[in-house]
Assembly symmetry: D2
Homo-oligomer: 477 residues x 4
C-alpha cells in the first residue's frame, strides 16, 4: 500500500534536506528543530488518520493502483466537495491547527486539472496529460505538495508590468528546450517546511504584457535555488521549549517565504507557461475551493476553542454561568460549517470532470469566515478571564523558588491542579493570540475580505432582484 | 388533473363561507374584501405557479393518482428537503410575502406523519392510516391546510395545568364515541383566512396531568364553532384602498386568532388524543422543518428588498455610491440560504420514511434568521433615504390641489416619474415597517430566539469539544 | 409672562389656518383632525412642560424681558449644549415621539446666529441684527418655528446647477427692493403642521454658479403661496380612529413637504441671499447640533421602548427570563446618551458667542445613532413575542361578536386584562414599525450615515496617528 | 521640586531590589533585563511627560509643597475626572501600552480616600488621616504605587469562607499591636515590577464571616515576604532580543502575581482591617474609576493601532482603497472616548470631597470597551493583510544567507524598505496578538463583562421606564 506512515513521512522530510531558514539560521534537520517538528506533526496527523480504518471512507479514495490519500484527489461529485469540507473540519478538530500545505496543494491540483483541460481544448497544448502524470506520481509516492499562489507583489498600487523589480511576481526568466527557469518568490506558503514539493500557479490575472508571470509548475523543495525562510509568528519561540507554554503541545503550523533563485524546472513539470488568458480562471478556481473549505476549517478550530473555553470554565467552577457564551460560540462555528456545506452542495461540474463549489456561496462562506471567528475569539477571551493574558510560565510552576506559590494560587475547583488550569489556559491563549489563532487562517486565506466582497458583487445579479421589486410595486416597462 | 387554478381556488374560498372577522366586523366574502383578497392572492400564487410547466419539477410530485402539489408531500429524501428550501425562496421572491398557511400545513403533515407512525408502533393505535387517508384527500382536492401549533398560553410563567383558564391551551372537553369536542384557540395562524382546513397539533410538550391538551386533528374552517379573528398589522388599512400606498400591490399575507368554541371533530380526523408522551416529539419535528425553511423564506424576501433598495437607488442616481450596501444585503440573504441548505443536506430519515433536517443546523439557521434580516432592513432604510419614512400618499399624487407639487418635487433621475419613485419607496416601506416586514416571519416563526438557543445548547455536545481541547493541551485522565 | 399654555398654543394653530393637505384633502382645522391633533399634542407637551415649575431650569432661560422657552435660546456655554441633550431625552421620555419642529428651529436659529455674524464680519451686511430682532419676536410670542434644510434634490447624481428643474433646490426667483420671492420646496420637514413659522436655510454647500439657492429666511406658514403636504407613514390612519391601536395614544409627530410657490419674503426676514461661500458653514453648524442632539432623542425613545418591552414581559410573566434583553437595551440607549454628552462637553464657542459641539464626536454620536437603535428595536421585537406582529384590533376587543374571545384569549398574568396587554403591545408595535419607530428619526435625521462617515473621515487626523505609530515602531525620518 | 526624572526613577527601581521572578528565574536588576526594562520605560514615560512643561496642566497638580504628579491626586471636580480620561488617552497614544501601576494606584488612593472617610464617620476610626499622611509621602517622594484588588479566588463557585485554602483571598493572619501580618496573593497586578509600593484593597464584597479578608494596606515591594512572579504573555520573549520584532520597540507593560508570604505591615500603613461592611463600597468606587478610564485608554491605543494600520496601508500603496476601515476604526475609538467623557461629566462628589463618575455610564463605557476594541483589532488585521501573521524575523533580514531575499521581497511602495514595512507590521502584530494587544486591558480590566452588565442591571431603573410606557399606552393604575 502506498499510504505512508507518519514515521516514514518524517524520515522522508529529514532526507529531503531542503534549504530552510528560521530566525536567520539554517535548520539542518526539520524533524529535530522544535518549531519545524511541530509543523511536521500537524501534517503527520494527516498521514496517521489516513491509515486509520475508521476514517478510510473520508480520508482515502481508490484508483486502479489501490487507495490513495484524499489530499491528492480530484473532486468528481457534489459528495466529494462535501467531503472536502468534512475533512477540513475533522483535521482541525484533531490538530487545532491549519495543515495548509496538503490543502493548498489539493486546491492547486484541482484548479490546474480544470485549467489545463481548458487550455489544451483551446490551444491544443498537452498540459493536462502532464498534470495527470504528475498527480499519479504524487498519489503513488503519497507526497505532500504545498500549493502556492501569493506573490510578494511589491507596491500594491502598481500593476505587475510597472513594478520596478519584476521579480516581485514569480516569473520565467528563461525558456529552454527542456524546461524553464523561474525567478521570484511565493510568500505566506502554508506548510512548505513539511512538504516534499511545491506547486506554483499564478496569483493574479495577468495581461498580455505580463506573459512571463503566467506560470504553473511543480518544483521539489530540494531543487537547486529554492530557499525557504520560515515566518515568525507571535509565540513561536515557545515551540522551541519543552514545556506546555506553547499551548497546543502536539501540533503546529508554519508559513514560509519560498524563494526561487533561478530554478530550472523540466518541461514535464510545467503546467502553464505564458497563457495569460487563463490566469484569471486558475486563480478563481483555486480560491473558490479555498473559500468554501475555510468554513470547515474554522468550524473545526472553533470547536477546539469552544472546548478549551468550556474546560477552563469547568475548572473555574463557572460552567453554568457561562453557558450562553458556549451556545453562541457553537452557533458561530456551525453557521460557518452550514454555509460551507451549502456552497458544496450547490457546486457544479466542469468539462474536465472536476467539481467546484457554487461561486456565490463560496464567497459568502469566506465573508462569514472573516467575521465570525473574531467573535468566537472574543467570547473565548471573555470566558477565559484575565488569566488568559496574565499567567505565570510553566518554568515558574517548576521553579524551586516560586513553583509552590504558582501551584497554590492557580488551583481551580477541587482536584483541578494549577498545571491543568494553566495548560488549558495556554491552549486557549495560543488559539486566540498565538500561532494557532483563528484569524491567521480566516482573514486572508483564499484572498482578502475585499476580494470576497468583489466576488459577491459580481454574482449578486441585482437586475433580477430589481425586476422582482418592479413586479410587486406595479411598475411596468 | 387535480391541480386547482387560482380562479377555482378563489371560488372555493368564497364558497367556504368561514366565520371571519376583521376590525370587529364579519367579512361576508373573503374574495371581495381588499385585505383578505390580497392574502388569498398570496396563496393563489402557489396555485398559479404549481400549474406552470416551467416549475413542475419543483412545485409538484406524483403518485398513482397523478401530480399533486408539493405542499401536500411528505419529504422522502435529502433532495426533498433541499427542494423545500428552494420552494420557500422562490415563493418569497415571487410574492414578497409569507404564504404561511400551506407551508405550516406542510410542516404539520410531515411532523404528524412521523409521530403517528411512532405512536402506532408503540401503542398499536391506527393514527397513521387515518392521516394517510386525510393527506390523500388533501392532495386529491388540492386543499390549502393551515398548520396550527401556537396556543394563547395565558401567563407564560405558569404551566398549562396551573392556568386559571384551562382553555388558553386548546383541549378536548368531551370524548364521544364518534369523535371529540375541542375548546380553546390557536393564535397567530398564518393564512387561515385563505385556507380550507386547519390542522391543529400540540404547541408544547405536555405532562401526564395535561392529557386533554395532547390533541392533533384536522378541522374544516367552516365547521360549527370555528371563528377567525384576523389580526391587524401596521399598514393593513392601506390594503383596503385602491392605490399603491400598500407597497406590495399584488400580494398580502394574514394571521388570525382561530377560536374553537366547542367544535366537534369526527374520529377519522383525529391524529392524537391524549398521548402526552409524544407531544414533545411532534412539536420538535414541526419546528425543525420550519426553522430550516425560514432560511429560504428570508433569503427570498431579502432578494426582493435588495431589489427594491437597488431600484430606488437607481431612480435616485445613486447606484454606484451605494453598491457596498447591496453587496452586504446580498451576503446576508445568501448566508441564511446557505445555512438552510446545509441543514437540509445534513438531514436524516426516520422509520416512518419522512426526512427531517439536521436539528443543530436547523436551529443555527433559525438563529441567523432572528438576526440577519434586521441588518438587511437597516441597510434598506439607509439606502432608501429619509423618503421612506416621509412621503406623500398616492392620494396626494392624484389630488387636484397638490398633485402637481408632488409630481414636480418627487421626480428622480431623468425619466423617473414621481409615481415610479413613490411606488418603489412604498414597497420598500412595506417590507421594513409594514405588513410585509421581514421580521414578522423571522423573529418568532418556528419559535422564539430563546427556543432556538435552547436547541443549540442541547445539541452542542460540549463534552466532545472539551475532549479535543484536553488532548491538545496534554491533559490526561 | 410670555410662555404660552398648551391651550393657547392650540388656539394659535387653529387661527393660523395654514394651507395643509393630508391624504389628498385639505385639513381645515389642524386641531380637529385626529392625525394633526396628535402631532400638535406632541409640540403642546413642550409648552406644558415649559410652564411646569419643576422643569424651569431645564426648559427656560431669561433675558431682560423675562423667561422664554429654551427652544428659542442661543447656546452660550458648554452647559447649554449639555442641557440641549438633556431636554431632548426628557421630551422623548415624556412623549415617545420626535417633536422635531421646535428642535430644528432651535438648530437653525443657532446655526444662523453664527453664520450671520460671520457674514456681517466679512461683508459688512446687516443679517445678524435682523436675526436678533427675529429671535426676539419668536421669544416674545413664544412661537414654534420649524427648521428646514432638506431640498427635494431631484436626481442626486447631478449638481444643483445641472438639474433639469432648478426648483428642486429652493431658490430666489426674484429680488425686489423690499424683499425676495422664493420658489421650490423643503421636504421631510418635521412638525411643520404644528408650527407658526418656518426658518429655511441652505441644505447643501452651493457653488458660485448656484447663488440663487443660497437663501435663508423666516416665513410664516400662512403666507401666500405656502402649502403643506403632510406625509403618510405606516400606521398613520389609526390616528384618525378613537381606539388604542395607534399605540401611543397621547402624542404624535408629523413630517411635511412644504411648497413655496412664489412666496414673497420681506427683507427683515431674510438672513442670507446669495452668499454661497457661507452655505457650507451654515449647513455644517446646523447638522452638528442635530447629530449631537440625536443621542439624547434616541436615548429617550429607547427608554420608552425599553419600558414598553419590560411592561409587556411583566404582563406575560417573563420579566426574569428576559432581563438580559432589558440590560442590553439600557446599555444601547445610555451609550448613545453618553456619546452625546461627550460631544457637548467637548464643544467650543465661536466669535458670535454661540457654542457648537465637538464636530468629530457629534459625527460619532450620529453614527452610533444610525446603528444602535436598530438593535434596540430588534430586542424589543424579541421580547414582544409573536404577538407584536399578530394581534386583534381594539375594535375586535369591543365587538359584540368576537370581543369575548379576544378578552378571553389575550389575558396575561393574573389581573392583566387583554386590554392592558394589547395596549402595551400596540405601543411597542408603534415604536418599532409605526409612526413612532425609532428609525424615523435616527437614520437620516441630521444627514445620512454616509454624511456622518464623511465627517469622521475629514476629522480623523490620520497623519498624527501615523506619527504615533512611527515613533513606537522606531521608524525615523 | 519633587518630580522625579525618568533616570532617577530607574535608579530607584534598581535600588529597590524587589524579589522578582521571570520565567522561573530571579531578576537581579529590573533595569537590566530586557523584559522588565521595557515595562519600566512605560512607567518612565509618565515621569518624563510629567516634567515636560507642555503638559504641566494635564500631568501635575499643586499643593502647599509644590507640584506633584496627577497620578497621586484625589479627583476634586468634574474637570479632574475628565482630565483623568484625557491623561489615559494621552499616555496610551504616547506609549501604546498600559501603564497600569500608576493608574491602579491612583484609583485605589481615590477609592480609599472615600471609604476611609466613610468608615471614620461611622466608626470613629482614624483611617482617613493615616491615608492622607501616606498619600502626602507618595507625592513628596513621587512614588509609583501599584493598586491591587484581584485575589486568586480559587474555585469561583465557592464563597471565600468555603474555600479549602483560605489564602486564595488575601487575609490578615495575625493582628499585632503595631500592625498586621498578611498572607495570600494579589494576581494580575499591572506594573508591579516597576512600582515602589503596592496598595492592596479588598477585591470583593465580604460578609461578616470573612472579616480577615477585609483589608487595605500599603506595602513596599521590597518588604520581607513579598515576591513577584511576572506573567508571561504571547511574544514576551522578543523583549529579551535586540531587534524590532517586539513591535513596540520603546515601551512595554507587565503583570505579576504578587505573593504575600506572612508580610508584616505596620499600623500607619493599614487603611482597613475587618470592616467587611465597607468592602463592597471600596470595590465599587475603585472599579467605577477604572471602567470610566478604560474609555480613554482604549481610545489612545486605538489611535496608535489606527495609525499603524494606516501607515502599513500607505507603505503598501493602499491608503485610498482602505479609507473606510480607518474611518470605522476612528469611529470606534472615539465612541469609547465620548462615553468615558460622558461618564466623567455626569460624575458626582462624595462627602469626602472625592469625585466619582456616573455609575451607570461608567458601566456602559466598560461594556463598550469589552466589544469595540475587538472590532478595531479585526479591522487592523484586515488592513494589515496576510503579512501580519506571516513575516520573516528581523534576524532573517540581517542574515548573511537570506537577508537579501527578505530585503528584496518585502519592499513596498517606492522608497519603502523591507525594514520599514516589517517594523510597522510588527507593531501592528504586537497590538493585535502580542503583549500590547488591546484586549489585555479591555476585556477584564476593572472587572469582567458580566460584572459591568450586572452594574447596568442594578442601575437600569426599569420601573420608571415602565411608567413612561404606561402613560403613553393609556394604562391607568
Amino acid at each position: 500500500m502506498t499510504l505512508k506512515t507518519k514515521e516514514r513521512y518524517l524520515e522522508s522530510m529529514r532526507d529531503l534536506e531542503a534549504d530552510v531558514y528560521l530566525l536567520g539560521k539554517r535548520v539542518p534537520d526539520v524533524t529535530k528543530n522544535g518549531f519545524t517538528r511541530l509543523a511536521l506533526e500537524g501534517i503527520g496527523a494527516i498521514y496517521d488518520l489516513t491509515r486509520d480504518p475508521r476514517y478510510r471512507d473520508t480520508m482515502t479514495q481508490r484508483d486502479g493502483q489501490g487507495p490513495f490519500s484524499v489530499y491528492c484527489s480530484i473532486h468528481r461529485s457534489r459528495e466529494d466537495l462535501v467531503n472536502r469540507v468534512r475533512v477540513a473540519r475533522f483535521l482541525c478538530q484533531r490538530t487545532g491547527v491549519c495543515t495548509a500545505s496538503r490543502c493548498c496543494g489539493w486546491d492547486a491540483m484541482n484548479a490546474l486539472w480544470h485549467t489545463t483541460f481548458e487550455m489544451d481544448a483551446r490551444n491544443g497544448t498537452g498540459y493536462h496529460r502532464r498534470l495527470q502524470r504528475y498527480i499519479a506520481k504524487v498519489r503513488r509516492e503519497d507526497l505532500t505538495v504545498a500549493g502556492a499562489l501569493t506573490d510578494p507583489k511589491g507596491a500594491r498600487s502598481l500593476k505587475p508590468k510597472h513594478q520596478p523589480d519584476p521579480d516581485v511576481y514569480l516569473r520565467i526568466v528563461e525558456e529552454r528546450k527542456d524546461g524553464i527557469v523561474l525567478r521570484g518568490a511565493k510568500t505566506m506558503i502554508g506548510g512548505a517546511v513539511g512538504s516534499h514539493e511545491i506547486l506554483v500557479q499564478p496569483g493574479a490575472a495577468f495581461s498580455e504584457a505580463e506573459r512571463d508571470h503566467a506560470v504553473a509548475a511543480a518544483v521539489p523543495l530540494d531543487a537547486d535555488g529554492v530557499t525557504q525562510v520560515v515566518n515568525r509568528q507571535m509565540g513561536d519561540e515557545r515551540k522551541l521549549e519543552a514545556g506546555f507554554d506553547k499551548g497546543n503541545v502536539r501540533f503546529g503550523s508554519s508559513e514560509s517565504l519560498v524563494v526561487f533563485n533561478d530554478v530550472f524546472v523540466p518541461k514535464e513539470r510545467v503546467f502553464m507557461a505564458g497563457e495569460t488568458e487563463f490566469t484569471g480562471d486558475v486563480v478563481s478556481k483555486f480560491v473558490l475551493l479555498h473559500r468554501m473549505t475555510l468554513g470547515g476549517c474554522l468550524a473545526g478550530c472553533g470547536d477546539v476553542l469552544t472546548g478549551a473555553a468550556a474546560l477552563l470554565a469547568e475548572f473555574n467552577g463557572l460552567s453554568r454561568q457561562l453557558m450562553d457564551r458556549f451556545v453562541e460560540m457553537t452557533y458561530l462555528s456551525e453557521a460557518m460549517y452550514a454555509q460551507a456545506l451549502g456552497a458544496a452542495y450547490q457546486g457544479q461540474d466542469t468539462p474536465s470532470g472536476a467539481w467546484f463549489p457554487d461561486p456565490l456561496l463560496a464567497n459568502v462562506t469566506k465573508t462569514s469566515v472573516t467575521r465570525l471567528p473574531f467573535e468566537i475569539q472574543r467570547l473565548a477571551e471573555d470566558v477565559g478571564g484575565g488569566m488568559v493574558s496574565c499567567m505565570p510560565s510553566d518554568r515558574d510552576l517548576r521553579s524551586d523558588r516560586v513553583g509552590a506559590f504558582v501551584d497554590k494560587y492557580y488551583r481551580g475547583l477541587r482536584d483541578v491542579t494549577a498545571e491543568k488550569r494553566l495548560r488549558v489556559a495556554r491552549l486557549l491563549e495560543s488559539m486566540v493570540f498565538g500561532p494557532g489563532k483563528l484569524s491567521t487562517l480566516c482573514m486572508h486565506g483564499g484572498g482578502s475580505p475585499a476580494a470576497a466582497s468583489l466576488g459577491i458583487r459580481q454574482l449578486a445579479d441585482l437586475e433580477s432582484k430589481k425586476e422582482m421589486a418592479r413586479r410587486l410595486a406595479g411598475i411596468g416597462d
